[in-house]
Structure formats: C-alpha cells, structure tokens
Subunit: 112 residues, 2 copies
Amino acid sequence: MGNQKLYKGSLQTIILKLLETNDKMYGYEITQKVKELTKGELKITEGALYPALHKLEADGLLDVEVAKVGNRLRKYYKLTESGTKETANKLDEMQEFLRTMQQLVNPKLSLE
Amino acid sequence: MGNQKLYKGSLQTIILKLLETNDKMYGYEITQKVKELTKGELKITEGALYPALHKLEADGLLDVEVAKVGNRLRKYYKLTESGTKETANKLDEMQEFLRTMQQLVNPKLSLE
DNA sequence: TTCTTATACATTAGATTCTTATGTATTGTT
DNA sequence: AACAATACATAAGAATCTAATGTATAAGAA
C-alpha cells in the first residue's frame, strides 16, 4: 500500500464522486467500494469517513435518509442540488491538481 | 487557483523531485520554480517550505551548504545518497497515487 | 532620496484533516 | 460459543498546512 498521506485532502471529492455515480450510498458501503475500486490501495477509516459525511451534510451538500435493514440501521447519503454543483467543481479542481502534479513529477509524460 | 488543500502531503515529494532534476537549489528558488512550473497554480508558502526543508535535512535526505551572495545568505540544498533513494520511492508512490485518483474520479479516461 | 517591491531566511498560532483507539450493537460464519 | 463482518460513532493526538509576523539586504521606481 502506497503513501496514505498523499490522499489527505481528497476524501470529500472521493465521497462526492461516488455519490454522483451511485446515486445513494451508506457509510460502510463507501469504505468497501473505495477499497474495491482502488484494489486495496486506499482504505478509508471510520474516523475520517463519518466526520466527513457529517460535515458534507451540515454544509448542505448531502441529504441523509435512515433505513432499517433487519435490526440494524443504515444512513443513506445522497447529493443535494447544491451538492451536485459542488461535485462538478471539486472534480474540476481534482483534474487540475492531477494534471499539475503529473507535470511536476514527470514532465516527460505530459508532452502529450 | 485550484484547491490548495489537495496538495497537502505532496510537498516533500515536490522538493525531492526538484532537487533530483536541478542538483542543488535554495529555498526561495524552490518557491519560484514551483510557481513557474505550475503557472501559478501552486504557491509554496514559507511556513510550509522551511520546516519541510529542515525536516528533510534532519532525516538525512538533504545536505545543506551555506553560500554568501553579496551580503545575503543562501542555503543550498542537495540530495544525499539516501535522499536519492527516497526520492525514487516517493516518486513511485506519487505515480501510484495519481493513477489511483485518476481512476477514481474519471474511470472513463483510464481504460487506456 | 525615499518608498516599495523583491530576495532570503525564519518562527509561531491556529485550522484542517487525518490515524489510531475505543465504544456499542447486530448479523453471519466456524 | 467464539470470531469476523457489518454498521454506526467519537475522541485524543499527529501531521501538515495557511496566515501572520519578524529580520535583513538589494533593486527599482517615484
């Protein structure tokens, strides 16, 4: 597993992107999906995830809907209208960041 | 200027990469070079840069050499042997991170 | 000549974001 | 019966940054 600290700052964007693609997801599902998509390279910890979800909700980017499955609860999160807009912004910023970093660390590959 | 917080965690790698390419550089020069290379997208602040340089030196990855230019001093930093190895590691980790993030936020572009 | 900007180092307070540890409870597997 | 997985959550502390401040020299503009 690579350098986890590089992912610092990108958690919100990852969550928003997943919700854009999958419509609605619950917390534990997000951790599993990220592990699967990144083949174990990135593991979202609960201590990072839940506060991040709560903040996105408090900022009005996510709506929550509590569901009961068997006897256990799940909190399904979904993008609000404002969350959809913010997702587009954050994805643009992420692409610019990725281009910039690629150019910095490997100028040869970015001649296109 | 994009989302500065995405760069959190990548400063060490950036410094090491610049020193790999340019052999030796001083602090202020690094800030200017990064601004130039990223067309203003990334601005390294002194409060981030100097502690980072001191840490890399304390960790034995950089050697420092003080030079006097006119009446002003410059501290030239240079990779040690161990610093050269660590640079290769960190660049590998960065490439893996960039691939992973690209795949997460834009799966379409990563079909290759 | 005086004022401002650039060069060049540095530290500190505070914010943000994470990791690690801990806690509670249900459900599935051995 | 015990353990792993599912599902939520918080809290202490670490790491890394931003913004502000400080010192000093050099260069350029007014």
